[in-house]
Symmetry: C2
Subunit: 392 residues, 2 copies
């Protein structure tokens, strides 16, 4: 029998509080840091720009020299290499403003004849001039610890001439598929009672998608010693995911093994599908035991393993993509369970897919997302607007 | 001067209609196919499961033999290796149902004493039995051409024993940064008038994030022959992105070069920032010329290059992540322009960031997303609810 089934949110909180984020960092070239998490505040070592620059193609001038200039009353300045009384200097967008100049006349407002420039517009000081540090000031904290880097952030680092930065190490997750009936895809033909391993592969791919590194082990048979060995020889990993063997049958050894090697925190949670999920800690490392039934396994992965990975890896921003849609049919909840109902999206409509059968893997592949029905809600009716969490 | 400035949506349509998606495919191991686009319909070559399986741990029986069984009136069957008159067979979840049996009694509804099993529940035929093909039927199309693979789809492929599948080739995009003032980050110190190259790096990283492959070239100086050479020697790519030199100044050679090598479709579009964007076709391949000003360049990338990449790569599903938020301040639009106003999100509030200064790269890094103000809207007021497109 299960230990008492635990409410899903309580289970998640208990589990997440039982381990700490990783503290190890690594220094990487900025071009390899998309989606990585910065491990310390980054301070600008220089001003950007580090010189006064022209914001337009045109002529650098002393604003005072353009006093009274207008469309019909141009001021005439001499084109030169430096600013003196009554001279101006040709500049391009981004080029330095010569000393003494404090404004740039746009090309459109000027007319060059030989070495004389007619200026048809009166400028105030600072016009079309980008001041030193107008983009980034030296000493400013430009990116904070914990920020997940985007290409536009990496461009800011590049603007400062930064070549590598410290980021948190990617959590390494070992994935251990267990089950007497499982065979590898190396076998071209299945015997009766055999099925191809899918949960472990899927877990390993989701872990990578979510920002972790994964190590997928070979299939382990339903033998407590072999399961123990597999875990034991992979304790260099930061997190352990097992699949299968979590129920209460004769061959369900996984929770017992977790308990013998560490602390089995939870066995049996109020998610549907996914009740036979087990959660534990070994050597301070989180362990998620996915039920073998594929849909139940996916839900354990989405609800617990993703959250654990994100905590380990300091990944803070909300990642689930959601859309709102109107239900084209009723979806029932299950009292006491957080129910994950698979739906297909068509335009703004969410079409419920068969929710029975935690063994029906294809129902997830046919789904675009799921609607979460809380523990105390009987279900949602046709026509109700619901939030759909997209399946990544 | 610009050719007549073109409306943003018209420009996008004209541009996207001027080239075709890639037709090349490649066959890859399924474990390498997360986020890849399937290049043909995939049909199931077998039933899943390919045998009748137990959906529970328990005893396989003939349902007829349990007639009249109840909590206080058990039926007694003999435990055996096959189904005969009055026998039952031990089964585990997922194991084959022996011939002759048509239901499975759950462990909880049975009591094993020596070789006799007391059964406390009357079953109907099919109870706790997973029929052959209940998950996937042989011959069924399980994934359609054009679908973007997720780990759960890859699990379905694995369940069918499929080891590799045809996917569309990733579009290869060459990124060519141009500009007299640009220097590489290999230079530890900048002279006056020099800035580090950032736009090309950023474009290359976004292309990878969006599902393409990118090749970032060294900086090309503002010299039409050199720009021509750079494009010419990279025509093996599927798409060309240039950065810089798109305005109407003396050193802005890029649009002219595009026109000389192919067809300059558009120069000057109604997006703000981003007006000096140019779009063209060379050898049937799309060319996006990003303005050199970083924020203008990003907007050209987001609005045109992303759409072009997605068309080339058959990437159909909507990718922009959006949230709704309430503006904490006014944001002005610009008549005739689709305006991209950068905002920072705090809880459900969108805080406008300085929208002036297409040169202020850090304003993008400080932003969580942007609000798009249509051409015919003056702006949005404080307190209005708006849609924020998150910056990836």
């Amino acid at each position: 029998m299960f230990r008492q089934r635990m409410n899903a949110d309580e289970a998640k909180e208990l589990f997440l509080n039982a381990f700490a984020p990783l503290s190890d960092t690594e220094k990487l070239p900025i071009e390899d840091c998309d989606c990585r998490i910065i491990a310390e505040n980054i301070t600008a070592g220089m001003d950007v720009p580090h010189y006064r620059r022209a914001a337009m193609d045109g002529f650098a001038v002393r604003a005072g020299d353009t006093l009274g200039a207008g469309a019909n009353s141009p001021v005439i300045l001499k084109l030169a290499q430096s600013i003196e009384n009554g001279t101006c200097v040709r500049v391009h967008t981004g080029s330095p403003i010569p000393e003494g100049a404090d404004a740039v006349v746009m090309l459109e407002d000027a007319d060059l004849r030989d070495d004389k420039v007619e200026i048809f517009s009166q400028l105030h000081p600072g016009k079309n001039v980008g001041e030193t540090g107008e983009d980034i000031r030296k000493g400013e904290v430009i990116l904070k610890e914990g920020h997940r880097l985007r290409p536009c952030d990496i461009a800011v680092l590049a603007a400062l001439g930064i070549r590598d930065i410290p980021v948190f190490r990617k959590p390494l997750v070992v994935v251990i598929p267990t089950g007497e009936e499982l065979v590898s895809r190396d076998n071209p033909v299945l015997g009766e009672g055999e099925v191809y391993e899918t949960n472990g592969l899927m877990a390993a791919l989701y872990i990578r998608k979510w920002g972790g590194a994964s190590r997928l082990l070979d299939i382990v048979k339903d033998d407590p010693e072999k399961i123990k060995d597999a875990i034991f020889s992979n304790l260099d990993a930061d997190m352990i995911i097992t699949s299968g063997g979590t129920s209460v049958g004769k061959r369900d050894y996984v929770p017992g093994v977790i308990g013998s090697l560490g602390d089995l925190l939870i066995h049996g949670v109020g998610i549907s599908p996914g009740k036979p999920t087990a959660l534990g800690i070994i050597n301070g490392k989180p362990v998620v035991c996915m039920p073998g039934y594929p849909v139940a396994g996916i839900m354990a992965l989405f609800f617990f393993a993703k959250a654990a990975l994100r905590k380990l890896g300091h990944i803070q921003d909300e990642e689930d993509r959601k859309v709102r849609a109107v239900l084209s049919g009723k979806i029932p909840g299950r009292t006491g369970y957080k129910t994950f109902a698979r739906v297909k999206l068509e335009k703004c409509e969410a079409i419920p897919l068969a929710t029975s059968g935690a063994g029906i893997l294809s129902s997830v592949s046919k789904a675009d997302g799921f609607v979460i029905i809380p523990e105390n809600v009987e279900g949602y009716d046709k026509g109700e607007e619901v939030e759909v969490v997209l399946i990544e």
